[in-house]
């Protein structure tokens, strides 16, 4: 694979410590600990790196190993981490401090948050055993050292040195993006980079992914190009986890989605909410499912307000089991029905299209050449979330769509900013609060500005509006 063909996260992955962005202190601490092995086995034989995804935990270990001349044996979530498997994987190597070529060795257990209680039975205990016996450095990595709802890392916590990684600050992400853009030789508007950095929440890796999504194959990128950004499904495996959840017959099976979806439970919550009406197509089921989701919201609010995170388990039960077990009268995903209805609404006879379920969702395939009708059909099915697959000559409607309110917020941020400034002006001039201005006055102003240019001009002058605000009111 040439460098150009690589995903940008790989291409711009730091290879040396100097290229690393953020978490300087954590990396220094890590280096001190690794170096301490040169004088024999230290008191703490393992180090536990924890922090949110995409801030450079793994990369810093690999870069440091490179610098200090270590070979890294890596065990991550693609490996089964049962006791038996770990023993055969690691085995006696923890007693062999050097490779046959004379390089030092270390073990890296990555993505520990993905160690599951059932499939990886005994895994955590086995890792603890390895740490107690090891003669080479052991590095543990997880997103959090103390999971809120099940304290599975406890045996590891007590016998390791903890180093915390923080989200990468906005300014550093922005700087890194600028360097990358420069290296690529493309021109990207400053505000695009700022938006990306802003959306990153300190996750540099996902930001580079997003940059690639909007900029790949372009020489110039403007705010226009960011419109589809949030529609991209950043985590491909979430839909699979959701499918399992929605078809679960027990609370326990449904609950599993919380750890298997690999997204924060807030995001998961939004995914479930987004797709719930598609799965629960019977009104009675929908009421029950929606009530469960609303109850979940309450439990979370209480957990947050009282700082009692043990209450979160009630939230999880409602949002997973409460929703999945509400499915009693629903026919299924209801997507085929929805698609048929949409096509019929456009006035096509059923024989014009083949609509069937596929492993990825629902396929909508025209049986004849659509010519000028294509655009109309496209518009109709796109409103459900279907996308045209050119190679297949059909539309694909995915089973689960990503939460829409998120991209809707992002798409409308400029408009909302404009409304806020306008509301402040109206509030002052009309002696009302700005939320009253938004609720009562601005909607009527919009009617006036759309209908009567003369009256609109008069009001614009009276309120002292700028061109941009006038334009916003007219659309």
């Amino acid at each position: 694979m040439t460098e150009e063909n690589q995903p940008w996260t790989a291409r711009f992955r730091p290879k040396t410590l100097v290229e690393l962005v953020g978490n300087e202190r954590a990396v220094r601490q890590l280096e001190t600990w690794v170096r301490s092995w040169e004088k024999g086995v230290p008191k703490q034989r393992a180090v536990f790196l924890y922090g949110p995804p995409g801030v450079g935990k793994t990369v810093s270990v690999l870069a440091l190993a490179n610098k200090l001349g270590y070979d890294v044996m890596e065990v991550n979530s693609s490996d089964y981490r049962t006791r038996k498997n770990l023993d055969s994987l690691i085995g006696r190597s923890i007693h062999q401090r050097f490779t046959i070529t004379g390089r030092r060795r270390m073990i890296l257990f990555d993505e520990l948050e993905g160690v599951s209680g059932r499939e990886d039975y005994g895994g955590i205990g086995a890792i603890a055993g390895i740490i107690k016996a090891t003669e080479i450095p052991v590095v543990l990595i997880a997103t959090s050292i103390r999971e809120r709802w099940e304290d599975k890392f406890r045996p590891l916590r007590d016998i390791s040195l903890h180093i915390k990684y923080n989200p990468v600050p906005f300014s550093q992400i922005l700087m890194r993006l600028k360097v990358i853009v420069e290296e690529l030789g493309i021109s990207v508007d400053e505000e695009v980079l700022e938006l990306l950095a802003d959306l990153s929440e300190g996750d540099l890796r996902s930001t580079i992914n997003d940059l690639e999504a909007v900029a790949r194959g372009k020489t110039r990128v403007t705010m226009e190009d960011t419109q589809n950004l949030a529609q991209r499904d950043r985590k491909d495996y979430t839909p699979d986890a959701l499918a399992k959840m929605f078809s679960a017959k027990t609370l326990r099976d449904a609950r599993r989605v919380v750890s298997s979806a690999h997204i924060s439970y807030d995001d998961l919550y939004n995914w479930i909410y987004e797709n719930l009406p598609i799965v629960l197509d019977n009104p009675l089921d929908l009421v029950e499912g929606m009530n469960a989701l609303a109850r979940a919201d309450i439990h979370q609010t209480r957990a947050r307000r009282t700082q009692s995170y043990r209450l979160l388990k009630y939230m999880f039960n409602e949002m997973t089991g409460g929703v999945a077990l509400a499915r009693r009268n629903s026919e299924g995903l209801g997507l085929v029905k929805m698609a048929r209805q949409k096509i019929a609404e456009q006035g096509f006879p059923p024989r014009d299209f083949t609509i069937t379920e596929t492993p990825d969702g629902v396929m909508i395939k025209p049986n004849r050449y659509l010519k000028n009708d294509w655009r109309r059909v496209n518009e109709a099915v796109r409103s459900m979330g279907a996308v045209w697959v050119r190679r297949g000559g059909c539309w694909n409607l995915p089973y689960f769509r990503s939460p829409q309110q998120v991209w809707r917020y992002r798409r409308t941020w400029q408009s909302r900013r404009r409304r806020r400034s306008l509301a402040a002006r109206v509030a002052e001039k009309c002696h009302v609060s700005s939320h009253e201005a938004v609720a009562e006055v601005i909607p009527l102003l919009k009617v006036i500005f759309e209908e009567d240019p003369f009256m609109a001009g008069d009001i614009a002058g009276w309120l002292g509006l700028e061109d941009g605000e006038v334009k916003w009111l007219k659309t």
Partner: protein, 323 residues
Amino acid sequence: MSGGMWAEKYRPQTLDDMVNQSEIISRLKNFVKDRNLPHLLFVGPAGVGKTTSILALARDLYGPAYRSYILELNASDERGINVIREKVKNFARTASIASQVSFKILVMDEADSLTNAAQHALRRTMEIYTRTCRFCLIGKYSEIIIDPIQSRCSIFRFAPLSERDMKGWIRSIAKKEGVSLIEEGLVAIYEAAQGDLRKATNLLQAAAATQKDEVDDIVIYSVLGRVSPGKVRELLNMGLKGEFMEARKILRTLLIDEGLAADDIIRMIYSEIMRLSIPERWKVKLSDTLGEIDYRLTQGARPEIQLSALVANLALAGEEMDR
């Protein structure tokens, strides 16, 4: 004729211009005559002249330059007790330079949305700066204002406008602006505004913008259909029909695209529910559900989720009505 929003253009400028609330106005006029004021607490529904009265009083008291002697704050915008403390104190502690009046006036609109803590802070401020500043607190409900503040204020209760006053006022604006408003249109405005004169005036203006000939009830309803309460009605209808996906789309338009606050939507849903033609028993039931949701929102719950749950439940009401 020009002059911006009609609700402002025709806002009475002096106490003499006020057409309603005659008893309150005559008491306020006495304050102007004495060139002295107690602290004031104005309570009553929206759009009946509370803000107008205090602005008119200030103009009568200080003359055309009254703006420099009065500070208007809106408690629902000035969030946080510190902002209120600072702005209020800075304004209140400096003496008036008007020759004949020794105090300035601070108007706190929507005072009933102040937290308890903020009200207690305000109470002390009112006491300390009484010499240089009078407070006029405005709100819908006096019950929510703490007793110590109530006992320091003269309370004025503003009555809802009578149908005659309101129609007369709207008719006179229509005449001055050359709008041919027929009786059916006037009735529709009156019913939509529910005694809120500002709302009625704004509605008349928007209707006049869409229709150059005759403004009748159909014009008014078409304008109402294009603003938030019309969309709220559509939302409820979709919910009753069990069209959850469509309803959720409208809900998102209101919350995200139009930026309405959740409690405004709740307020609109409430008044729409009361007007729906559904079994009375369901009105009580839905009001109870709405009350539960309203409370949940004060506790920090997600507005879209809670309102979606309400919409889903509407389908049950709709189904029972079909049977």
